[in-house]
């Protein structure tokens, strides 16, 4: 029984992945990400010292930016595109549960992102190798953490995709992703504006997805060590928040009438 669930979910995931490979939007994004990374080579020469700092900054920023773009723009269409096109009808009539469909879509886009992020990271390493800089494993670590953040973004986009229409889903997802990147500001609101009640600020802070948790770019560039405890809690956060979103998505989607 569980094996059936897994194989059905995997079938949905593979199909989602296959769709992303065959729809060419991704290749454009990948191209621009690589372009951004390579431009680091040019900028590096304009700096006073020939160091790899700006290359790493630019490369990691590209991966973060384009990964987020992919996660949001494919993510918000994952469910409601199928509803609009009515390709969902023959699928749900089969022994496919709605929750399996949601999880499968998530897994498929996660796989797509993994491949793309790996390609962009390879591009960054290649750029570093070409300029004869020592290969830095810290970059891979930072990318892995970024990837966790991207998975959270996917879960967010998928949630809105399952719950509302495409247009609204885009707006909500982008808003929350942006807000999540400013989560630190929300947390410190009571310090800066003392009239804001502490409890409210804290509640909003915890509710927002805090993407700064996954952002270790500064550490990488300055070659700081990252404690294993931090990595562990970061993973817990990602799984907990992401799991919450997926559970919510599956629950709402299960009750939804699909005309």
């Amino acid at each position: 029984m569980a094996a059936g669930r897994l194989s059905r979910t995997a079938a949905v995931a593979m199909n989602t992945y296959r769709e992303s490979v065959r729809e060419r939007v991704l290749y454009n994004l990948l191209f621009f990400a690589l372009l951004m990374t390579l431009s680091g080579l040019l900028l590096r020469d304009l700096s006073i010292r020939q160091d790899d700092r700006i290359l790493k900054d630019l490369g990691l920023a590209a991966i973060d930016l384009f990964g987020t773009v992919i996660a949001i723009f494919i993510g918000v269409g994952l469910v409601n595109k199928e509803i609009d096109r009515r390709s969902l009808y023959p699928l749900l009539a089969k022994p496919l549960r709605r929750s399996e469909f949601v999880v499968g879509k998530f897994a498929g886009l996660s796989l797509t992102l993994l491949v793309n992020v790996a390609a962009m990271t390879a591009g960054l390493y290649f750029t570093l190798a070409v300029t004869r800089h020592p290969l830095d494993l810290h970059i891979a670590k930072a990318v892995a953490c970024l990837y966790l953040g991207l998975l959270l973004t996917v879960a967010l986009a998928l949630f809105f995709s399952a719950v509302t229409s495409a247009g609204l889903a885009v707006v909500c997802t982008i808003s929350l992703v942006l807000a999540g990147r400013f989560a630190d500001v929300v947390r410190n609101m009571p310090e800066v504006a003392p009239s804001v009640p502490r409890a409210l600020a804290r509640a909003v802070y915890f509710a927002l997805p805090n993407f700064a948790n996954f952002d270790l770019k500064d550490r990488v560039v300055h070659a700081d060590p990252i404690s294993p405890a931090y990595l562990a809690w970061m993973a817990v956060y990602a799984v907990a928040y992401g799991g919450l979103l997926l559970t919510g998505a599956a629950a709402v989607f299960a009750r939804r009438d699909l005309k």
Partner: protein
């Protein structure tokens, strides 16, 4: 005693309409329906009568507001029966970027069919629905008819005991329609149950054992086809030759004289005896070629039930 294939009791569904104050608009009213195993059941009704809503509830896309549904003896929410059932939606849409083979493989995986068997069945089904040549072509370029054929194939990939078809002939040319009829006949021969909804009555007439007629969310009539139709008028159709128009148009009790080349065809409504007509024909020097009972067509019956004001007039073919 095996359970019926489909049983609906007191099924109710309403949509909320309006923007500010949303009022419920009832689409299905206390529907009671039973489909027995092994029969070909026609679910008929004009557009907007609730046929598709019923199908969507059965497919699990919509939730009924009230009532019970059981399929193959199991409740609607039990996923087990879905392994034994196939669905063909109206205007099916699959995925542009997949080929029929890939889609059938995907569908097969959702049923848990092992890989080798998936392939074998896909090949056989594609052959059966006439898509064997296009098995590897991306569906981006498929016409409506081709999508319909694939729809039929994916509905049968799991060798179902019960098949739901929503407008199965739509978009198909005569050869395609013949193919669908053969498929349905084949299913019936295998002992499967077929539940199909359509508004093309000639198809229903030629295929169904029992039908149900839906009007504005209510079942107007359910029963065996021949019983329904035999309850209607019985005309006799007489084909004669060797007489002229004046004679043909004035045969005793006959109506609707129509020339077909050199011959004439007249109708005798129920109750009008054949004898005097035959006599009149022979007296005029002609002969009776054939006599046939003509049942009321399903279409006539349909129209009389649905729109009594139009009784007796031909409804324009809606296909």
């Amino acid at each position: 005693m095996t359970d019926p294939a489909v049983e609906l009791r007191g099924l109710r569904k309403a949509y909320l309409v309006g923007h500010l104050r949303r009022r419920p608009h009832a689409v299905l009213h206390d529907l009671d329906l039973t489909v027995e195993r092994g029969e070909v059941f026609g679910y008929l009704g004009p557009n907007g009568s609730g046929k598709t809503t019923t199908m969507k509830i059965l497919a699990g896309l919509l939730r009924a507001d009230a009532g019970t549904v059981s399929v193959l003896g199991r409740p609607l929410g039990d996923p087990a029966w879905r392994h034994r059932v196939g669905f063909l939606p109206e205007h099916p849409y699959f995925y542009d970027y997949l080929t029929p083979r890939e889609y059938l493989d995907y569908a097969g995986r959702l049923f848990g069919i092992p890989s080798a068997e998936r392939k074998a069945r896909s090949d056989q089904l594609l052959e059966q629905v006439g898509l064997a040549r296009y098995g590897g072509v991306a569906m981006r370029r498929f016409s409506k008819g081709m999508l319909q054929r694939l729809g039929l194939a994916q509905a049968m990939i799991n060798l179902p005991e019960l098949v739901f078809l929503d407008e199965p002939m739509s978009g198909l040319d005569p050869i395609g329609r013949r193919m669908v009829r053969d498929v349905i006949a084949g299913l019936k021969e295998r002992g499967a149950t077929v539940f199909f909804s359509t508004h093309i009555l000639s198809d229903a007439e030629s295929l169904c054992d029992r039908v149900a007629l839906l009007r504005e969310g209510r079942l107007v009539k359910t029963g065996r086809l021949d019983e329904i139709l035999s309850a209607g008028d019985h005309h006799l159709e007489v084909l004669v030759a060797g007489i002229g128009a004046p004679v043909a148009e004035s045969l005793p009790g006959a109506v609707g004289a129509r020339a077909i080349g050199e011959r004439w065809r007249v109708e005798l409504p129920r109750g009008v005896p054949l004898g005097p007509v035959a006599h009149a024909v022979e007296a005029a020097g002609g002969r009776v070629l054939a006599v046939q009972p003509v049942r009321q067509s399903l279409e006539d019956y349909f129209v009389s039930q649905v729109d009594p004001s139009r009784e007796g007039r031909k409804w324009p073919l809606a296909d």
